[in-house]
Amino acid sequence: MTITTPQSETELVVLPGRGKGRRRTTDAAPRRSGLLQFGHWWWALPGILLVLAIHYVATAAGGVFAFTNWSGIGAFDWIGVDNFVKIFQDPSKLLALWNTLFLAFGSVILVNVIGLAIALGLNRGLKTRYALRVLFFMPVVLSPLAVSYIWKFIFDFNGPLNTFLRAIGLDSLTKAWTGDPTFAIWTILIVIVWQQTGFAMVIYMAGLAGVPVEIEEAAAIDGANLMQRFWHVTLPAIRPAVAIATTLGLVNGLRIFDQIMALTGTGPAGATATLATEVYKQAFTLGNFGYGAALALVLTAIILVFAVIQQRVTRSNPED
């Protein structure tokens, strides 16, 4: 059966095939002459259909619901851009939007600076760098939810952080960190940074491993100091690693959800709500499917815009 389908799209038999499968197709231009084609095009079909259904059809349908007042059951009305007007006039939603951007950019900057610093420190000379790499990477594999609970305890009013502050005589600094309107968002940022730094470090260590020692030595002989070597030799060489670490960090940072649910539950009084937690609250807790979809559409648009900008900025170096 697999042999007797000469109409197969990917089949381009230049060398003799067998049986009925032998057919020369001339309308497809191979990238290299004499390239054999293998497999059947319909092998890709289940995958394509599943991705179309779960990613594209569902997202498009969500985009349609964003313009309705559907509650999840029964009839709904087409209400145009009312949902979006409501979002941008509601201070709590604007705060959620600001928090989303703050957490995404704050975490990307801190994670990449710290991750790169550790990677540079471990890169050369250290005998135990692989053991240290295992330790710094460890939080990455854990569930963000579980990790957030540990940190919730650390930030607890009777937790280790306040106990430590009291022990060194800084009683005035103790507070209920996750319940404080100013500091709650920073506790979430700290948890994200703690968990993601190892990921950036590993990407940068892989990037740094590809930078030849000779180039750095040549620069050093030419009189470049440590900072100059970093800015003009190392950093340009690991540009692809920077692109990947920052893009993934930004896309994931914009949809932060688990950490907030575990640490603050969007509190105090919505001070740590983000677009992702608002989508959950509106669509699944309050039953405002249409409004929740509109919030999700705003989040999607932001993610796609930043993903494109990110690609342009980090990949558009003419020297590459």
């Binding site: 990917t10 054999l36 293998f38 059809v57 250290l126 790499r133 330790l135 963000p144 990947i244 669509a283």
Partner: protein
């Protein structure tokens, strides 16, 4: 130029101190999980228990219903393994066709998958939930496995396509001449050659599925198919500041993945570093 000097040694010591500080949350986790209810208040949160107490764990493993942690562990394992198997099969087949095809549609389809990787799941979640509810897939293990396969498939295909492009066609050509069918070539020659790719796909997607909370909360929260993170969320939701009990469940939830990580740490780190380089 890069000799091992006293300075390098100091840098090494410094990094170990930094690592100890970095991992201090795990110290609090273990110390608190073994405290009794009484010692939770009488001992310092910075230190350990005077007499280790295991009652938090026995209580944890006897919890029933919404907070049944054993059931959560079993469900998480079934879902992760099921999703990985589906992702490896569909991801490899699709990635193979895309990498070997020279037709224009395959390029378009490849970009379709690439965009789907960054497309946030939130917008599609609402219609997916309605669709899944309509066909009875919410609250079932099968429904979740299919959903996870669909969600993670773009990443799996992207990884496989990258690996397949790096594989020359010599083996396939030789096998064709020897009279192997396309199916035989794929399953008996190409796929076994791709085991590093399969490892990367399994680790990256498996980790995301295992740790997923958002999708699991929406689709199976409150059902008997609840995964570990959801069970944990409900279990902890019923405890107010009982950190010894909270940490018992957090510790138990971390042990499987930490054991697996420490056992296969090289593969994990290579999977992240190599697989995502693109």
């Amino acid at each position: 130029m890069f000799r091992y000097t006293t300075l390098t040694f100091l840098r090494e010591v410094g990094f170990w101190l930094l690592a100890a500080l970095f991992l201090i949350p795990f110290f609090f986790l273990v110390m608190t999980a073994f405290k009794s209810d009484e010692e939770l208040f009488t001992t310092s949160p910075l230190g350990g228990p005077t007499t280790p107490d295991f009652s938090n764990f026995t209580e944890l493993f006897t919890a029933q219903g919404n907070t049944n942690i054993i059931q959560g562990l079993i469900n998480s394992t079934i879902m992760t393994v099921g999703a990985i198997l589906g992702l490896v099969l569909l991801g490899a087949l699709t990635g193979y066709v895309l990498a070997r095809s020279t037709r224009r549609w395959s390029k378009a389809v490849y970009y379709l998958f690439l965009i789907a990787i960054v497309l946030p799941s939130q917008l599609g979640t609402v219609p997916l939930y309605i669709g899944a509810r309509a066909v009875g897939l919410t609250g079932t293990l099968w429904g979740m496995i299919i959903l996870y396969i669909g969600m993670m498939l773009p990443l799996a295909i992207f990884l496989y396509a990258g690996f397949f492009r790096g594989l020359g066609t010599e083996y396939e050509e030789a096998a064709t001449i020897d009279g192997a069918s396309r199916t035989q070539i794929f399953f008996r020659i190409v796929l076994p050659l791709m085991s590093p790719a399969t490892g990367t796909v399994a680790i990256l997607t498996g980790l995301i599925v295992w740790n997923d909370f958002f999708t699991a909360l929406i689709f199976i929260g409150g059902s008997s198919a609840q995964t570990l993170p959801v069970s944990m969320y409900y279990f902890i939701g019923s405890l107010v500041s009982q950190w010894n009990k909270i940490f018992a469940i957090v510790l138990v939830s971390m042990i499987p993945i930490l054991a697996f990580y420490l056992f296969a740490q090289k593969k994990f780190i290579q999977g992240f570093a190599g697989g995502l380089k693109g």
